[in-house]
């Protein structure tokens, strides 16, 4: 019996599919998702209003301040990977409780649990440690309400205390204040959103020698988010960050630009997730002739947030 090349290829595919049930399930899931996207993307009535706070992946935050009386538990993990040499991974998980007492104000607060895995990184001690490392609170207030104008702006003020250095994991006493303007605009009703953030973060740190040192970070971001099917939003987030010694931009030390995809999924009426992974695509460190600023910033960063409303 003569076997043609085509028959051989079909046989190979059949063997692969029989031996790879996981692959089959994945292909079926992607096909089903694609069908759903194609069917629902045609039906604009299926898309309803959406809270914009987390649709940009949570590095860039949208303007929504929640619904009056709403309470939620939100574990949010921020991770950083990659320094100049060695192995570097650090994460900080904030176990946030969120409450919206009025239609204009949202209050958030919770402890921070950090994890450090540092090996052979220049200028950093090796460390493999998980510990409670601080506390943060956040107050968000509506400045410009979305109304006839598609633009909305919220002011966020976030005091933080850290007992561990966020980068090295060394014992410190650190006070920081994140001040952010969080703006977004609805470009296509209930479908396409543009987000902007402006960040100023001064902080003061007492290290193991007992001396206080001040630093500050300035940042600006732009993000695009598209509701591809009802309750699922995908997009991209671009950040530019500048780091300084001194609380008021006294001495420039380096800058970095991050870019990465974002994903938001309202899993159930009272539950959602938001995630992003970003790579430093450009950067410069004062006094060092190398690509990227890997002293003040990491090579990659990521965030994952889950929200459970109750």
């Amino acid at each position: 019996m003569v076997t043609t090349n085509k028959q051989k290829k079909i046989g190979t595919l059949l063997r692969l599919s029989l031996h790879r049930p996981v692959l089959n399930v994945a292909i079926a899931a992607v096909a089903l998702f694609a069908c759903r996207v194609s069917a629902q993307a045609q039906d604009n009535n299926a898309f309803h209003e959406i809270e914009t706070k987390y649709i940009f992946g949570t590095f860039t935050v949208g303007s929504s301040t929640g619904i009056e009386g709403e309470k939620a538990f939100e574990p949010e993990t921020q991770a950083a990977f990659g320094k100049r040499g060695g192995g570097y991974a650090a994460s900080a998980t904030t176990l946030e409780f969120e409450y919206t007492p009025t239609q204009y104000l949202q209050i958030i607060g919770g402890p921070i649990v950090s994890y450090y895995n540092i090996r052979n990184v220049p200028d950093l001690d090796d460390r493999n440690l998980a510990t409670v490392s601080g506390f943060e609170a956040e107050f968000r207030s509506v400045l410009i309400d979305r109304g006839p104008s598609p633009l909305a702006v919220t002011l966020s003020v976030e005091p933080e205390f850290h007992s561990r250095d966020e980068t090295s994991g060394a014992k410190v006493v650190n006070y920081a204040l994140d001040v952010k303007l969080e703006a977004d605009a609805e470009l296509i009703k209930n479908r396409l959103f543009l987000g902007f953030n402006l960040l100023y973060e001064p902080e003061t740190t007492r290290g193991d020698l007992g001396m206080w040192s001040k630093e500050s970070t300035f940042g600006i971001s732009s993000a695009l988010a598209f509701q591809i099917v009802p309750n699922v939003v995908v997009g991209a987030d671009l950040w530019y960050l500048r780091h300084y010694e001194g609380a008021l931009f006294d001495s420039f030390t380096g800058d970095a630009a991050y870019l990465g995809p974002t994903f938001y999924w309202k899993i159930a009426p009272k539950m959602l997730m938001s995630a992003t992974w970003q790579a430093q695509i450009a950067g410069h460190e004062q006094g060092i002739n190398a690509a990227f600023d890997l002293t003040d910033f990491s090579r990659y960063r990521a965030r994952l947030l889950l929200e459970f409303e109750f």
Binding site: H48, E51, E68, Q103, G147, L155, L177, V179, P202, E203
Partner: protein
Amino acid sequence: MKKVALLVLLGAAALLPIKYGVAQERAALAITVKDHRFEPAELRAPANRPISISVKNADSAPIEFESVSLRVEKVIGPGASGTVNVRPLAPGRYEFFDDFHQQTRGTLVVQ
């Protein structure tokens, strides 16, 4: 340290002048949920006036009256009534729905 403390105070002060409307008579609206439908499905209210919406649940299951753009939510038991207060609004269309039965939807038209 003093600079940081000053910044904390400035940040806190910035949150204080939150725009609450001056005392104004609320526009009173009423709506009923029956057979998982809002009756009427469309409410109308004047612009730039606080609004009070009385919601009656005529169904045998609890509902949660909710709106993202109105920024309100309220759980109302079977056969019970509740009131939600809404800030003064600019002209436009504002969606509301029952969070326990997502297909139950209505609109507030502000003119």
